[in-house]
Symmetry: C2
Subunit: 199 residues, 2 copies
């Protein structure tokens, strides 16, 4: 439901309630129970629509590595478009819903690139969980801005993951190499995992 997504994006998923949605739609809070079995089903539908978003038209070029990068980059983008909702992807078991539509594409590309099935399975699951971990961590930072200041808070660029310089000398050594740009940082991790992809 588009209205529910609008409430989630403007108020934050934490403030989303049947009563808030009822007020937004100017109807009784219990009217939604005719269309969804409850709040959980509604949230599941929202999460599914986010994961499915953009999965239909993933690129199929003659560069498998670029296609795979585009696939997970787009998953990241879809999740970050709704930062307060993003962590709720973990509510759904991974074999359910729109999840697999996306990964089907990635695995096909790994095959096309000449990777054998055992490596493909390993690379695929590593890419997926890396993308989830990275994106959900980033989403929480964006979500805090939304929940503090309401819709579309201009929180500026989100700070990259940074150690406290004072406490951890080893981490501080590498701190300059933790990129400020989360997108660049994210892609660097993808490339690390895809390092051995045959060309």
């Amino acid at each position: 439901m588009a209205a529910a997504m609008q409430v989630v994006d403007t108020q934050g998923a934490g403030a989303f309630s049947m009563r808030a949605l009822g007020a937004f739609l100017e109807c009784d809070p219990t009217a939604m129970y005719r269309h969804f079995t409850g709040k959980n089903a509604l949230l599941d539908a929202l999460v599914d629509s986010v994961v499915r978003d953009g999965a239909a038209n993933l690129p199929e070029t003659d560069d498998p590595r670029a296609d795979i990068r585009a696939n997970f980059r787009q998953l990241r983008r879809s999740l970050l478009a709704h930062p307060t909702l993003a962590p709720l992807v973990l509510r759904r078991p991974p074999g359910v819903g729109a999840y697999w539509e996306r990964s089907d594409h990635a695995v096909a590309q790994l095959h096309r690139a000449g990777m054998d099935p055992v490596d493909a399975a390993n690379v695929y699951q590593t890419l997926l969980f890396y993308t989830l971990g990275h994106t959900l961590s980033e989403a929480r930072q964006l979500a805090r801005a939304v929940e503090r200041e309401g819709a579309g808070a201009d929180a500026g660029p989100v700070a990259a993951v940074r150690p406290p310089q004072d406490r951890h000398p080893d981490l501080s050594d590498i701190a300059p190499h933790l990129r400020d740009d989360n997108e660049v940082q994210f892609l660097a991790g993808l490339d690390l995992i895809l390092r051995d992809l045959p060309r």
Copy 2:
């Protein structure tokens, strides 16, 4: 607070409330506000204690790769020990709390193994986010068992991530290579990321 952790582990984090904790401690639900500023602070303290758990005595052998594996494997184990609480690690910004104590160790080991700072930064953040993504996905499955059947439900081994065989032929090709054992699957991903670690 140990009592709060006990309530979370037996009832599930979803059923945890100030009132439930008050009932468990046989005191008024509002008494806790003398010790914690609110429910959020209490949950943050619980999450911190989980992330910190076991971080103090990580191994320091002459095999850096094994030490790094042990580090993230132990983080996974600590999170899975409290499956319903695990997803709440995303509540905290990553530069806060016990998070870094663990990673300090990993980065020191990457240095010791002769890795240059740029690669170390990249490998380190990839390992961390992969571990979070993998472990939080797995934790949710365990959590569903706890929340259905109460404490220590013997849900059997958690099913590995599996595509629906009927819908996705490419994924089905590799399905036999998605290991049943989540621990083995997890370690395979770590090794993929650590592939280029100098020996």
